[in-house]
């Protein structure tokens, strides 16, 4: 019986190499901790292949880890390591089937040494910029008249005294709420983040200053921390950074809504100057007086106009008006009477003329006469009279009384 016979038959209990390797790869990939690791070590066997991919081994005194970084991740790296560099590599662990090895698939390589701070700074800056954390579109504007300024800084430092002095001088109307933190060392970033978040969560705070006095790049390092940067970015209240001196730029400066070159400058940017508010107030006061004076003058004009109008309605004036009206009426009355009289006169003259034309007088003048009986009735026929009747005969210039003697064909008239 040979050795091979001792092994189980090639059935479900037997793996092919590929199957086993795939199974192991899956084990690695199912472990979420292995899918997001940061490993520190020293770089060796560093190779930057023509393809653009990066291969190296990370080692410490006891162990080594194969690492690969694909071309697209390499492209995002500002910093590229050299053999011997102390680095922190971030990525995921998986298996390279063909080589039968597990390795770290790196997406970020960060220099670990302090000497590489500038490089790490650049890298973080690039990355956050690419993410849009510095975009002007995200910058919030500062309130013109802040009510309460939250200050994230060390309580004992000169930076805080400088800020308070500036606020006292420029705008003592504001309140200040200090959230003390370390501003240096490994403990500083989480403390800064906590203080910032605490202040930002308050509704009475409307501006936040994150400040630290001058120092070396290492001293200011807490303000280059990604956590601090993200906390500043996430704040709903506007954040002013005032870190170090004029020449110092930190990541916090780039992500802040307003970057001030120093803590004092941050305070100056945060508040208006009462020195400028006083003349503004004086101007407003004189505007107020001018406008009320104009209103009073305008109302006075209106009043004068009304008084004039009222004058026309005064009873005394109305009496005078009536008087004048009455005079007018009298004149018109007289005129009317006068013309009526004249009219009457001429009508009278006309009537007289007409009357004359139709009167019997002219006929009488020609020698005719009118006979009337005792009752004044005109006698037109002989049958109207009896002998003895008294008649009146009217001639041109008077009447002749007569007595009828008889009423025959001849008329015998005797004067009596």
């Amino acid at each position: 019986m040979g050795f091979l016979d001792l092994l189980p038959e090639a059935d479900s209990d037997t793996w092919s190499v590929s199957e086993l390797t795939a199974y192991i790869r899956e084990l690695f990939e199912m472990d979420f901790r292995l899918q997001d690791v940061a490993v520190s070590g020293e770089v060796s066997n560093y190779t930057h292949a023509r393809s653009g991919h990066l291969y190296f081994t990370l080692k410490d005194s006891q162990a080594q880890l194969k690492c690969v970084m694909w071309r697209n991740a390499v492209a995002r790296q500002q910093y590229l390591p050299q053999d011997g560099d102390a680095v922190v590599v971030h990525g995921r662990i998986s298996v390279y089937d063909a080589g039968g090895v597990y390795q770290l698939y790196a997406d970020r390589i960060i220099p670990a040494g302090r000497g590489n701070l500038a490089v790490a700074f650049e890298q973080l800056k690039q990355r956050l910029a690419a993410e849009g954390l510095f975009d002007a579109a995200h910058k919030k504007s500062l309130p013109v008249f802040p009510r309460k300024i939250g200050i994230v800084t060390s309580p004992d430092a000169a930076a805080l005294r400088d800020i308070l002095n500036v606020l006292r001088r420029r705008y003592p109307l504001v309140s200040v709420l200090i959230a003390p933190t370390l501003v240096q060392g490994d403990e500083a970033p989480p403390q800064i983040v906590r203080a910032l978040q605490w202040l930002d969560g308050r509704d009475d705070v409307d501006t936040i200053i994150v400040a630290r006095g001058g120092g070396s790049m290492e001293d200011l390092w807490a303000f280059n921390d990604e956590r601090v940067a993200r906390a500043i970015f996430a704040a709903r209240h506007p954040v002013i950074s005032g870190v170090g001196h004029e020449t110092d730029f930190t990541i916090a400066d780039f992500v802040a809504d307003v970057r001030a070159p120093t803590p004092s400058a941050a305070a100056e940017l945060a508040v208006p100057d009462v020195g400028e508010l006083r003349p503004l107030l004086v101007a407003r006061q004189s505007q107020l007086v001018t406008s009320i004076q104009e209103i009073v003058a305008r109302k006075q004009d209106t009043l004068h106009n009304l008084q004039r109008a009222l004058g026309h309605l005064n009873p005394a004036n109305r009496l005078n008006n009536y008087r004048q009206y009455l005079d007018n009426l009298v004149v018109r009355l007289e005129k009317a009477i006068h013309s009526q009289l004249t009219q009457a006169h001429s009508r009278l003259a006309l009537a007289a003329k007409t009357l004359h034309a139709v009167s019997p007088q002219a006929t009488l003048a020609r020698g005719y006469a009118i006979v009337r009986d005792e009752n004044g009735r005109i006698v037109r026929t002989i049958h109207a009279v009896q002998p003895g009747d008294k008649l009146q005969i009217q001639v041109q210039d008077g009447r002749i009384p007569t007595i009828v003697t008889h009423n025959g064909g001849n008329t015998d008239v005797h004067p009596n």
């Binding site: 008249f145 009510r147 003592p172 504001v174 200040v176 508010l277 407003r284 406008s291 009320i292």
Partner: protein, 72 residues
């Protein structure tokens, strides 16, 4: 009626003062209203200057116990 002037912040008082000036300049109010506005404007202006002259920076600090203490 309007807010007690003493309860107004500097900003709110200044803003109301500016509103009153605009209202007065529009000339759309009766004389009584205008005079009342003017009087309020005067008080607001006085309150603003008083705040500018008398304000002292109010400083509070968060302690390690999570309390807020008044420093000045």
């Amino acid at each position: 009626m309007s807010t007690q002037i003493e309860n107004l912040t500097f900003e709110a008082a200044l803003q109301e003062l500016e509103t009153i000036i605009t209202q007065l300049e529009s000339g759309e109010h009766t004389l009584e209203e205008s005079l009342a506005l003017f009087e309020r404007g005067q008080k607001l202006a006085a309150w603003c200057s008083q705040q500018l002259e008398q304000a002292t920076l109010r400083i509070e600090q968060l302690t390690a116990d999570g309390e807020i203490v008044q420093l000045s």
